[in-house]
Symmetry: C2
Subunit: 345 residues, 2 copies
DNA sequence: TAATTTGCTGTGTACGCACACACTATTACG
DNA sequence: CGTAATAGTGTGTGCGTACACAGCAAATTA
């Protein structure tokens, strides 16, 4: 096990000083062509990689990473990536990484703008964000790109902004999975009810893709069935009433309910307590967990929000500290959660 | 954002030299009680953590981690943790971590002994292993404990050996989950067939626990059912024939088949092609993936072997490099894999 | 020709820590 | 009383890198 080559070693072989080698490594010029070439050759021959400890010690720089996500209010979704980030911080803390939180009020443009401006002023080295408010997010990311401030996106991708990495799921396939799980063991002709309860700042793109996937699966595998899509605004005053009406109307041959996002808990009371009607939703919020436990919902698709937060920091570490390029996209698996495996997620 | 406290800073506050502080940190004694206390107080007040870069630079030590698992031969299970280890290596490479592979011939005691002895001679700093050969593993781990060589166990726990960390699943709950998934949508009276195909070096303990969990779930939730457990040695010459006979015997009211380990692929040909008979097995080997795709199996429980490898290295990093204590146990979630989400695992 | 610029190179220091070593009091003992 | 052991303390060096700075010769300018 040969000791890894050092700057000193290279300098000795090239018969120059470490300063000259350093100039080559950092491409600061002011080196004669002859030496330039010589040193480069030796470096590639020895397969030189800078010692990270030495580098960081000498730079003595703590990279500042901004986390820009909605603040936790009622539903618990955004506390999960935060938890993952904290976990990662704990592991990478000793490695010159500091994460600063910029939590804005969900769906409030002004709050987003305020926090995102703060990031630009605070001279950060990287941004981790979930693009909730589409327009504002775009505007902000454009500014980041201008200053060549690297950013990692979680939850939803804006691929034309060319993020360092996107971490999230495949919405279409997630819908297909829902179709598979809800039709499992059901052969008789029946109706599938899709509940699309949308909040203000929600990215309907995702939900739409999920529904498309859902229908794609059923079309492919089932013969005699009906799909009814029911979209409604989460803030609707008569929410529960309208949903109840809808369910009553289709219940005679209702086979399963597909709730396209994490909002299952909003309609818990409306769900039929008929054993043969299967219900599937998204995300392991505390309230949704309770529904699983009570048997009101049979399955949830889990997006690993904690891991998303963790991996985002990991990517930043890779990029900033070890100077490696993280993968362009990390696809989160579609975890199926039932009462019997919920405790592990 | 105050700069993190350094040894120098502490020394200044305590009015001593950095040497004295150093002695306190490393508990090397030779410090007066008064100063000892004073320095400890200041350290906890400032919440001092040594700078990892400085430490490692000065130690200039590359930690050598031994990976002791079966070599990849026919089935692909053990290539997965290896892959995870490599992934982790890539990320932590720059951090004084080197993993050395000690791959032994599966189920061959002599090979295990040879490799494990090599580890002891090679002066490693940590061991990652999967305890396959029970007696040999015990013997080896005892020697590790003697030399206070830390080890992380994956896949199967020997908790009385007090590993640094155990990474794996809960076998009992995994059986319960199998019960839930196989009985989903089945109310009529029916028979559940449990296929327990054991290899030579296999740890039947795990399979037994899985079966117990399976039965526990059915007893709790179903009324009218029968469970038949069929155990057989994987090397049995008449394997397929015997299994075929068994299946034919129960097929009239056979509802589902539970294969207790990764060996589904061995009996692929025997599986009934009846849509209403659901089959569930373990582990995403290539061959099992094919069964999923062909519809011969509906579900697999995934043990995240890649992650197990990755996390094992991560634990070692935490323990050796950053000197933090990793969690005693990391419970791997019970992932449910179906044809529609298999591509993400 | 002297003065200045330019191109290239080497030196020195800092970063935070670990550890070997040297040093000073204090105490013990013959 | 002198020598030796001992407890407690400070100093110095090295780890590998980054970067400011100084130096020095050749080329250019005044």
């Amino acid at each position: 096990m040969a000791a890894p080559p050092t700057i000193k070693e290279i300098a000795k072989r090239a018969n120059v000083s470490i300063g000259t080698v350093d100039r080559v490594i950092h491409k600061r010029g002011k080196v004669s062509k002859k030496n330039q070439k010589l040193i480069e050759d030796i470096m590639s021959e020895l397969n030189y990689t800078p010692n990270v400890n030495g580098r960081n010690l000498s730079l003595n720089k703590t990279y500042k990473i901004a986390l820009l996500i909605p603040e936790e209010i009622d539903d618990g979704y955004w506390s999960a990536p935060l938890e993952g980030v904290k976990k990662a911080q704990n592991i990478f803390r000793s490695s010159n990484l500091a994460v600063h939180y910029y939590l804005y009020k969900k769906d409030v443009e002004e709050s987003f703008q305020e926090k995102s401006n703060k990031i630009l002023n605070d001279d950060c080295d990287g941004v981790i964000m979930a693009p909730q408010l589409y327009n504002e997010a775009n505007l902000f990311l454009r500014k980041c790109a201008e200053r060549s401030l690297p950013f990692v996106l979680i939850d939803f991708n804006l691929s034309d902004m060319e993020p360092l990495t996107y971490i999230g799921q495949n919405a279409f396939q997630s819908g297909r999975l829902a179709g598979e799980l809800l039709s499992l063991g059901k052969n008789e002709s029946s109706t599938f009810l899709v509940m699309n309860i949308t909040g203000k700042g929600d990215k309907n793109v995702i939900f739409r893709r999920r529904i498309e996937g859902f229908q794609s699966y059923l079309n492919e595998k089932l013969k005699d069935f009906k799909v009814e899509v029911f979209s409604i605004f989460a803030g609707d005053i008569a929410l529960k009433q309208k949903i109840n009406e809808k369910i009553q109307k289709v219940i005679p041959d209702l086979s399963a309910i597909f709730i396209t996002n994490s909002k299952s808990y909003l309609i818990a009371d409306c769900l039929p307590q008929n054993e043969s009607i299967r219900v599937l939703g998204y995300d392991l919020l505390m309230k949704n967990r309770a529904l699983l436990k009570d048997g009101k919902i049979q399955m949830l698709i889990h997006q690993r929000p904690i891991d998303q937060g963790y991996m985002a920091v990991e990517c930043m570490y890779q990029y900033l500290v070890t100077k490696q390029k993280p993968p362009e996209e990390i696809v989160i698996p579609l975890d199926i959660v039932t009462p019997e495996n919920a405790m592990f997620y």
